[in-house]
């Protein structure tokens, strides 16, 4: 018989999903934000993204080939995502060499040092971003004028959060244009609406679950709401302040794309909620009382560090053991 019998333990079927297909879906979900950003800031956006992606992939390839001497893993697209997310956290006019340095830190320090995909305790793109933020604070926080002035009014070079930190008034901010992406900020964080569309796509494709984004954003909104109550006075603030904080800075990008990074987030739904609440609360504390105007990156990195602890202590309810 011309048969070669194959034997393996069950199951004998596998879902069509693979690491690569999941990563591809994340990339698709990032496209709307990239498009909006390109409209707002012009072709510089694509240049920054391209440099970030190319250097991330190249650095991973080189490390794997010459340092680890193992099989190449760039085919699973995770380095591409790190590149895009790193670019999304940079201003559009950042010099190219800073991007390369960021990519080197993100992939080299944030990911490959720990053994590559699946082993990194921190979100690599954020490791790169925070390194750049501390090393090159000026370049990282000065944002260019939009090139789309023919479509909408121009805006100041300061991000809304920086403006508030400097003593600005929330009431003076136009929430609708923030929602649409018309504000100063890093490439990817300005377009709340586009990011939500991407998040919806990932939820529909079951790439992520709702737990982390909802926990992060919910906590932030609640936090802002409580703060607004204590501020007293203006009743409009009760909804304006939560809305402002959800739309400003990296809230959406962080909650939907950065915090949900598989490797550095907890494994159980309960754990994800705790993690999300932690990120939301720390972000708000930094925003309201910290030295930096924005705290999303730090909050995510701090909670990344807590993730192993959450995984250890937060267990799913055992089947058949009813809670009292």
């Amino acid at each position: 018989m011309a048969n070669n019998f194959i034997v393996a333990p069950s199951p004998h079927m596998h879902s069509v999903e693979s690491t690569r297909s999941l990563m591809r879906d994340v990339l698709i979900a990032l496209i709307p934000a990239l498009v909006v950003s390109t409209v707002v800031y012009g072709l510089d956006v694509l240049k920054v993204t391209a440099i970030a992606v190319a250097s991330c992939v190249l650095i991973e390839y080189l490390i794997q080939k010459y340092l680890i001497k193992g099989p190449s893993t760039i085919g699973n697209l995770s380095a591409v995502i790190t590149g895009v997310l790193l670019a999304f956290n940079l201003p559009a006019n950042i010099p190219w060499w800073i991007i390369v340095v960021g990519a080197l830190v993100a992939i080299g320090v944030g990911k490959m040092t720990f053994g590559g995909l699946g082993r990194n305790p921190f979100n690599p793109a954020l490791v790169g971003r925070v390194f750049l933020l501390i090393a090159y604070p000026v370049q990282m926080t000065s944002f260019p004028q939009p090139t789309m002035s023919k479509f909408v009014d121009t805006f100041s070079g300061a991000t809304p959060l920086a403006a508030i930190k400097a003593g600005g008034d929330v009431a003076s901010v136009d929430l609708m244009s923030m929602f649409g992406g018309v504000m100063a900020g890093s490439l990817g964080e300005i377009a709340a609406a586009a990011l939500i569309v991407g998040g919806g796509y990932m939820l529909w494709r079951k790439v992520i679950t709702w737990h982390i984004p909802v926990a992060v954003l919910g906590t932030m909104a609640l936090f802002a709401f409580v703060v607004a109550i204590f501020e007293g006075g203006n009743p409009a603030l009760l909804y304006e302040l939560p809305a402002f904080h959800l739309l400003a800075g990296g809230a959406m990008l962080g909650a939907i794309f950065m915090a949900t990074d598989y490797v550095s987030s907890p494994m159980t739904p309960k754990g994800m909620l705790i993690y999300g609440v932690g990120i939301g609360a720390i972000t708000m504390i930094i925003r309201l009382w910290g030295a930096y105007p924005e705290g999303m990156s730090f909050a995510i990195l701090i909670m990344n560090a807590v993730t192993p602890l959450i995984n250890k202590y937060v267990k799913p309810r055992r089947f058949g053991v009813m809670s009292k």
Binding site: N4, F5, I6, V7, A8, P9
Partner: protein
């Protein structure tokens, strides 16, 4: 300047305070231990292999110090020398044990044992053996996925990629027994270690009937019993269609080696006995038995039966 001084002062005070607290805590929770345990532990090889039956060298050292009678304790890795020095230090009688070596009892190399299927699951002997028979028709043979290799702390056992069977490096083997426990097929046995790594053993553990064994593997023991008949020391027993050479009784006379029709009895570290009467029963005939068909094999076994008696008496 004041900032600098206050910083230094604060830190110094904190440091001293912490040191004081640590000192008292250390005193309070100090564990009184026999200092000899530390000394004995240092004498052990420190491989923490578990070959002695304890969790590690420290646990073994504790037992050595605390027990009056240490004759039941033995570190296979350190061997007689190590045990002697420990016993001398403790003033106890050194336990003695014959040196042994791990022996892989399977001769089903690829050329002798036809592959009937391809295993596509996790390459682990424990997992594969709980699922099914293995990649050949033999339900007893070495699977070659290397659970023993994983278990070995001394790099002494490896799966030969040519044969697909685990092989022991007798020089490195410390007879800790980790591979014996790891092998789900119970193929590995700790056998008496002779000088120059000499060995005679049945390299098969198949309990199948002769015909079934033969169909699955040309190198298997078919339980014909010829070896047992020729053995002058009563070292060989045949049970469930499988011959076994008792390492305590075997004197390495090698008579059985030439008797075995399938070559299942392996000889190592020595030359085989001269085959004085060049009968078809001796070595040259062995490969000829190979074709698995029953009728071909049977007559040869029968004709071989007659000859060995002559040979045996001659040798005596």
């Amino acid at each position: 300047m004041t900032v600098l001084i206050s910083t230094i002062l604060t830190l110094s005070v904190l440091g001293i305070l912490a040191a004081v607290i640590l000192y008292f805590v250390a005193q309070k929770f100090k564990v009184e231990e026999d200092p000899r345990i530390d000394e004995v532990e240092k004498m052990f090889p420190g491989a923490n292999c578990g070959g002695c039956g304890f969790a590690g060298c420290r646990a073994m050292a504790e037992a050595m110090v605390l027990r009056e009678d240490i004759s039941a304790l033995y570190c296979p890795v350190g061997g007689a020398e190590c045990m002697k020095s420990v016993a001398a230090y403790l003033g106890k009688v050194a336990p003695e044990k014959e040196p042994t070596v791990a022996t892989v009892r399977c001769g089903g190399v690829c050329s002798k044992r036809a592959k009937t299927n391809a295993y596509n699951g996790t390459k682990s002997c424990a997992i594969a053996s709980s699922l099914y028979v293995g990649e050949s028709g033999c339900a007893y043979g070495c699977l070659g996925y290397g659970d023993c290799v994983e278990a070995c702390a001394f790099d002494a056992i490896h799966v030969n990629p040519q044969t697909g069977i685990a092989e022991v490096d007798a020089e490195k083997c410390t007879a800790c027994g980790a591979c014996v426990k790891a092998c789900p097929k119970n193929i590995i046995e700790l056998r008496k270690k002779w000088p120059k790594n000499r060995a005679v053993y049945v390299s098969c553990v198949s309990k199948d009937k002769g015909a079934v064994t033969m169909k699955a593997c040309k190198a298997g023991c078919i339980g014909c019993g010829k070896c047992a008949k020729v053995c002058a020391f009563g070292a060989i027993t045949v049970e469930n269609g499988l011959a076994y050479i008792d390492p305590q009784k075997c004197k390495l006379c090698r008579k059985c080696v030439n008797e075995c029709p399938t070559g299942a009895i392996v000889l190592k570290g020595m030359d085989p006995l001269p085959k004085e009467p060049k009968t078809p029963a001796a070595k040259p005939a062995t490969p000829a038995v190979a074709p698995a068909a029953k009728p071909a094999a049977e007559p040869k076994v029968a004709e071989a039966k007659a000859e060995p008696k002559v040979e045996a008496t001659k040798n005596e």
